[in-house]
């Protein structure tokens, strides 16, 4: 053993993200990307020149079609994820996202100290462990669910007057409450920036955790597994914001 630090860990495979969670995640990533790109185009379309009759082209129409189709997928995917928060495994449970205990807030503070302020905990550089979402991440996801809700409300609210279906019409009260489509549209546009900022930070943090902890954070959303040190099982060091099972 050449190095005094060296301690070779024995890792155990833990099934963290179930298939429906992974499916939700990647479908969500895809439709949000589509919604952002088409949303930007609808908001500020390119200057096209065409010698054809207007009726022979449908560029804006297609962008809008993709936006609306993606919006439906996004909406139903969102509903599905809420459902899975009640029937999925403990890492998918709704209690991972909504603070319902003091311990949740305490753990958020711990994450803040260790991962953002880079402070030592119990004399060590990295002591904290969450196998699923840590409390901070869970709470940020909760905020992002609220952003999903805002986009669904304003988006379908704007769409309601173009649709004959009852589902979008359920949202017709939104522009009425906000005082019209103009403000509704602006809120829809501003909120979109949350998704862009979220995506950038989210991807960075996935790399951060993978790099620092070495438990396969990046690949976990592919196969569903993370690799957890045996000590964690032995010493009962596992933390999850609201353990209930």
């Amino acid at each position: 053993m050449p190095n005094k630090y060296l301690h070779v860990h024995r890792l155990r495979r833990v099934y963290v993200w179930e298939l429906p969670v992974r499916f939700y995640h990647w479908l969500n990533a895809l439709v949000i990307l589509a919604l952002i790109v088409t949303g930007f185009y609808i908001s500020d379309p390119l200057a096209l020149a065409s010698s054809k009759e207007a009726s022979a082209t449908y560029t804006m129409g297609w962008f809008r079609y993709i936006h609306f189709a993606a919006a439906y997928l996004f909406f139903f995917n969102f509903l599905f994820r809420i459902y899975w928060g009640f029937v999925g495994n403990k890492y998918a449970n709704w209690k991972q996202f909504i603070p319902t205990s003091k311990r949740f807030f305490k753990e958020m503070w711990t994450v803040f100290k260790i991962d953002i302020l880079m402070l030592k905990e119990n004399g060590k550089q990295q002591d904290h462990l969450s196998v699923g979402h840590n409390a901070m991440a869970g709470f940020i996801y909760f905020l992002s669910f609220l952003a999903f809700l805002v986009q669904c409300l304003t988006g379908f609210g704007l769409y309601a007057s173009m649709s004959g279906w009852w589902l979008p019409k359920l949202f017709a009260w939104v522009p009425a409450m906000l005082g019209g489509d103009i403000l509704t549209r602006q809120i829809h546009h501003w909120s979109m920036w949350f998704f862009i900022l979220f995506a950038v930070i989210h991807v960075y943090l996935v790399f951060f955790h993978d790099y620092v902890e070495g438990r396969g954070e990046i690949s976990s959303m592919g196969g569903g597994w993370k690799f957890i040190e045996e000590d964690v099982f032995k010493n009962d060091k596992h933390q999850t914001p609201n353990p209930e099972n």
Binding site: P2, N3, Y5, L6, H7, V8, H9, S43, D44, P45, L46, A47, L48, S50, A54, S55, A56, T57, Y58, T59, M60, G61, F63, I116, M118, K124, Q125, Q126, S161, M162, A172, W173, A176, G179, G180, D181, I182, L183, T184, R185, Q186, H189, W190, W193, I196, L197, V200, I201, Y204, F208, Y211, V212, G214
Partner: protein, 374 residues
């Protein structure tokens, strides 16, 4: 005027004949109105009957903070009977702009109508009511607008809020709203109020709202913002003849470009048609001659709530009202993105310093394991 006089009021039809119109003119007017208020052909008879048998309805038309463009629009609606009968004859019991009387005489007429037709007259309000500085910004005959409105609404059967001023405050209520300009529905709560927003509203729409009330004796079906559904349920965008250019993605980039000459969609020069509910694209203006988009100007969304505070007229709204000078959501977003990027870079550096021992352990462990595998 005595109570006797009320019971012997002429009907609309009698007034029409007295004015020198023929039966044919009358039926033409009725057919047109029936179509405007969105009724089917079979309802023409019903409207005709109402106009033939109903006595003229007294109307009080109040003017507060406004520019009279609503009245101007109304008297230009496409059939002369609208102005001659609905305005001139129905009512004119009191309307500052068009009545013959003035001063004490006029105030007397107002008072008379209010007492004699209590609970029966239609109150039309053009303009907003300034509540700032105890209402001194708009006073008529020694009374504030608020006093006049409250007195007049007391005995009204229903209230029509003409135009954007009365419906949502229009330009005088734009931030910072120095006079405290307030729309009617925020002051009067106990009467049915029909909002007919627009700056001005379309003359035929105004006539249609009145005819609907006369025919059925109740206010037309309103949408969630209190506007008659018959005229405000569709977006200008959805009835726009330039819509195919929008769908094709062909837009006017500047007002003097080739695309403007070709009549492309005005979306990129700020058209608010996609967010504006009105009948402009269908009814048009000045006897169906044209409407803003047809004359090459983007819709400014004048019938939408607070349209003066809803961003700039020649840009698709993304500006923050009252935030920065020209900041738009996208500029702010890009700045936030830059700040986030810088923060993440800083965090990445801090991670390699703050967790150096921990990361080193992992790396050595990994290398050791790699060596063990033969």
């Amino acid at each position: 005027m005595t109570n006797e006089a009320i019971t012997t009021q002429p009907t609309y039809y009698e007034e029409v004949l007295r004015k020198g119109y023929s039966r044919r003119d009358f039926v033409r007017f009725v057919s047109m109105m029936t179509a405007f208020i969105g009724l089917e052909q079979s309802a023409i008879g019903q409207v005709t009957k109402a106009m033939e048998t109903q006595q003229r309805m007294p109307v009080i038309w109040l003017h507060f903070q406004e520019c009279t463009c609503c009245s101007e629009s109304f008297i230009r609606s496409s059939h002369p009977i609208v102005a001659d009968i609905l305005l001139d004859k129905i009512s004119l019991d009191y309307t500052e702009t068009l009545m013959a009387a003035s001063g004490t005489q006029a105030e007397e007429a107002l008072k008379n109508t209010m007492t004699k037709y209590k609970g029966k007259y239609l109150l039309c309000v053009e303009g907003s009511v300034p509540l700032g500085a105890d209402g001194v910004y708009c006073m008529i005959g020694g009374k504030t607008s608020l006093q006049i409105l409250e007195e007049a609404s007391e005995g009204a059967a229903a209230i029509i809020a003409w135009g954007s001023c009365a419906s949502n405050g229009c330009v005088q209520s734009a931030k910072p709203n120095p006079t405290g300009a307030t729309p009617i529905h925020k002051i009067i709560k106990n009467k049915p109020i029909i909002k007919v927003p627009g700056c001005p509203p379309i003359g035929e729409v105004m006539a249609g709202v009145i005819v609907h009330y006369l025919t059925f004796g109740r206010i037309p079906e309103l949408d969630k913002l209190g506007r008659p559904k018959a005229f405000y349920s569709k977006r200008v965008h959805d009835t726009c003849y330039r819509r195919p250019f929008y769908d094709a993605g062909l837009f006017v980039e500047t007002f003097d470009d080739e695309n403007a000459k070709k009549g492309y969609c005005l979306y990129k020069v700020g058209c608010k048609g996609p967010s504006t509910y009105n009948a402009c694209g269908v009814m048009k203006w000045n006897n169906g001659t044209s409407y803003p988009i047809q004359s090459g100007h983007p819709c400014i969304g004048c019938s939408e709530e607070n349209f003066w505070d809803n961003g700039r007229l020649y840009e698709r709204g993304s500006s923050f009202a009252g935030f920065g000078i020209e900041s738009s959501a996208d500029t702010l977003g890009k700045v936030a993105l830059g700040v986030t990027g810088a923060a993440l870079l800083g965090h990445a550096v801090a991670t390699n310093i703050g967790k150096s021992t921990f990361i080193q352990e992992h790396q050595e462990e990994g290398k050791e394991s790699e060596k063990e595998l033969k």
